[in-house]
C-alpha cells in the first residue's frame, strides 16, 4: 500500500469516525432531553454548533501554548484513532495501526489531554487548572481499572496487538471478551464511564461548579477544534473498546451497531445519576472497578481462565 493510498484511506476513516462521533453526541443530547421530558435539539445540532463556532469572525488568544492546546487535543484524538485498526480485515479502516500496539494507543490518549491542559493553563483562568487537576486526578484513577483490564486481555490473548486481539475473538459472540472474561469488561466499562465524563463522573466540565472548567477561555475556532475532537475521540474510544471487549467489527454496520450500544451504556448511566464530588469519584474508581480488574487478572492468569 502506498503512502498516498494510506493517507487517503485515513482521511476517509477519520471523516466517517468524526461524523459518527458527532452524531452520537447529538443522540446523547436527544436522549438526555427525553429523560428530562423535553423534545431536545436535532440530532445534527453538533454539526451546526461546529459551523457556528468556526464561523466566528474574531477570537482571542492567550499565547502560543493556548493556541496550540486545541491543536494538541485534536492531534491526540486523530492519533489515537489512527493507531487503532477500526474494522477487522478492512484496508480502508486499518489506519496506521502498524506503528504500534495497544500500549501506543493507551498512551497516545494522553497526548491530546496533556496538550489541552497546557493550552487551557495558559488561558490564565483559575477554573482551567481546577478542572484539569480534577481531570488528571480522575484519569489517573480510571486508568487503573482500565489498565488492569487491558493486562487481563493481553494475558488472555497473549498479545498486545489489537488486530490479533480482534482476530482471536472472531467466530461467534461467545468468543468475545465480554463472555470469556466478563470481569475485565466490567472493570473496563466502568472506567469508560470516567473516560466519557458523563454523570456521575462529569467533574471536569461540571457546568454548575466550575463553568465548563478547562476550556473556559476557549472560543471561536479553538472551540470548534475541540468540538470536532469530541466527536472523533469518542469514536476512537468506542472503537478501541469494541475491539478489545466486543469482538471488533468486520464491517461498518457492525461497528456502528456495537459502538452505539457501548456508548449508550454510559449515556444511560449519565442520564440517571447525579454528579459525584471529585474525591468520591476518585475513590469509586479505586474501589470497585479496580477490584474487578484485579479479579479478572487473577481469574485469567492464575485460575486458568478460559484457555
Amino acid at each position: 500500500m502506498s503512502l498516498a493510498t494510506q493517507i487517503f484511506y485515513a482521511v476517509i476513516s477519520v471523516t466517517v469516525a468524526t461524523a459518527y462521533g458527532l452524531t452520537l453526541g447529538g443522540i446523547t443530547r436527544k436522549i438526555y432531553a427525553r429523560v428530562h421530558g423535553r423534545f431536545g435539539p436535532p440530532v445534527w445540532q453538533p454539526f451546526l454548533d461546529i459551523i457556528q463556532t468556526s464561523g466566528r469572525r474574531v477570537s482571542v488568544s492567550h499565547g502560543n501554548m493556548f493556541l496550540l492546546g486545541p491543536v494538541f487535543r485534536l492531534a491526540g484524538g486523530l492519533g489515537t484513532y489512527l493507531f487503532i485498526p477500526v474494522i477487522y480485515g478492512s484496508a480502508v479502516f486499518s489506519n496506521f495501526s502498524m506503528a504500534g500496539d495497544l500500549l501506543l494507543v493507551m498512551y497516545f490518549v494522553f497526548f491530546g489531554q496533556l496538550g489541552m491542559a497546557l493550552g487551557a493553563g495558559q488561558g490564565g483562568h483559575p477554573y482551567s487548572p481546577i478542572g484539569i487537576a480534577r481531570g488528571l486526578a480522575q484519569m489517573s484513577t480510571f486508568e487503573l481499572p482500565f489498565a488492569l483490564a487491558v493486562i487481563a486481555v493481553a494475558i488472555q490473548y497473549n498479545s498486545l496487538n489489537i488486530t490479533s486481539i480482534v482476530a482471536a475473538q472472531q467466530g461467534g459472540f461467545m468468543n468475545w471478551t465480554l463472555f470469556t472474561n466478563p470481569l475485565a469488561v466490567v472493570a473496563a466499562m466502568i472506567s469508560l464511564l470516567g473516560m466519557n465524563m458523563h454523570s456521575p463522573f462529569s467533574i471536569v466540565l461540571a457546568p454548575q461548579e466550575i463553568p465548563i472548567g478547562p476550556p473556559i477561555e476557549m472560543n471561536s475556532g479553538f472551540l470548534s477544534i475541540l468540538q470536532t475532537n469530541r466527536g472523533l475521540f469518542a469514536a476512537a474510544k468506542l472503537v478501541l473498546f469494541m475491539n478489545l471487549f466486543f469482538g471488533g467489527a468486520t464491517n461498518l454496520l457492525e461497528m456502528v451497531a456495537k459502538t452505539f450500544f457501548i456508548y449508550m451504556f454510559s449515556v444511560f448511566v449519565g442520564a440517571a445519576y447525579p454528579r459525584f464530588r471529585p474525591e468520591q469519584s476518585f475513590r469509586f474508581f479505586l474501589k470497585w472497578p479496580t477490584i474487578a480488574g484485579i479479579l479478572s487478572i487473577i481469574y485469567i492468569a492464575y485460575l486458568g481462565g478460559t484457555s
Binding site: 451546526l48 459551523i51 466566528r56 474574531v58 463553568p211 465548563i212 472560543n219 471561536s220
Partner: protein, 213 residues
C-alpha cells in the same frame, strides 16, 4: 512609512486604560477593537444560517427577567429544540439576554461580558426596563435605555414577557441573523467612543480596561 510613523499609528490604536492603576496596566490588553467584515456574501449567508440555528446564550441573569429563562430552558418550552443552548462563559456565547432592569452596578458587568463575547454576537433585551426604564424610569441607580450602552438586536416588550414572547423574540432574532442584519458587533466597534462615553458617564468606578478583551 517609516518605523516612527508606524509606532505613532499603533499608539493611536491603543486604549488609554486610564481607569486601572499603573501597576496593573501591563496585565490588560490595550488594543482597540476593530471592525471585522464578513468574508464573503455567500459564505456569510451559510454561516448566518448555522448561527441562527445554533444560538448560544450567555447564562447570565442580569435582572428579574432571568426568571423567565428557566421555563424556557426546561421541559415546558424547551428552547433546545430551536438550537438555543446556554453557555457558561461569554467567550463561547453568542447571544446575550439582558433580563430586564440594569442597575449601574450590573451595567458594568454587562459591558464587560458583552465585550468578552466573540462576535458575531447578539443582544436580546428583555422587558420594558431595557427599553425605557419601565417602572424604574426615575431610579437614581438604573439605566433607562440599554442601547445607549451596548447595541441591541431585539427588544421584547412586556413586564414580564412570558416565555412565549421570548420564543417569538428569538425567532425574530433568527430572522434578522439570516437576513444579515445583526451587525451589533461592528456597530459597537464603529461607535466605540460614543458607547464608551455613555458607559463612563454612569459607571463612576471605572476600574477596568476601556475594552474588556
Amino acid at each position: 512609512m517609516n518605523k516612527k510613523h508606524m509606532d505613532e499609528i499603533e499608539n493611536q490604536m491603543k486604549l488609554a486604560n486610564a481607569g486601572i492603576p499603573e501597576k496593573e496596566r501591563d496585565l490588560f490588553a490595550d488594543a482597540r477593537p476593530v471592525k471585522v467584515d464578513p468574508f464573503n456574501k455567500y459564505y456569510e449567508g451559510f454561516l448566518n444560517w448555522a448561527r441562527s440555528r445554533s444560538l448560544w446564550m450567555l447564562a447570565f441573569g442580569t435582572g428579574c427577567g432571568a426568571i423567565e429563562l428557566r421555563p424556557l430552558m426546561t421541559s415546558r418550552y424547551d428552547m433546545s429544540r430551536y438550537g438555543i443552548a446556554p453557555r457558561p462563559t461569554p467567550r463561547q456565547a453568542s447571544v446575550f439576554i439582558i433580563g430586564g432592569y440594569s442597575s449601574i452596578k450590573t451595567i458594568k458587568r454587562i459591558v464587560r461580558s458583552y465585550e468578552q463575547m466573540q462576535g458575531p454576537k447578539y443582544v436580546i433585551a428583555l422587558g420594558s426596563c431595557t427599553i425605557n426604564g419601565g417602572m424604574y424610569y426615575d431610579s437614581y441607580n438604573t439605566i433607562n435605555r440599554l442601547d445607549y450602552y451596548i447595541p441591541v438586536d431585539v427588544y421584547i416588550a412586556g413586564c414580564m414577557p412570558r416565555p412565549e414572547a421570548l420564543i417569538a423574540g428569538f425567532n425574530r432574532l433568527k430572522e434578522k441573523i439570516r437576513a444579515g442584519e445583526c451587525e451589533g458587533m461592528n456597530e459597537y466597534t464603529e461607535k466605540f467612543d460614543w458607547y464608551k462615553s455613555n458607559q463612563k458617564q454612569i459607571i463612576k468606578d471605572w476600574n477596568m480596561p476601556d475594552y474588556n478583551w
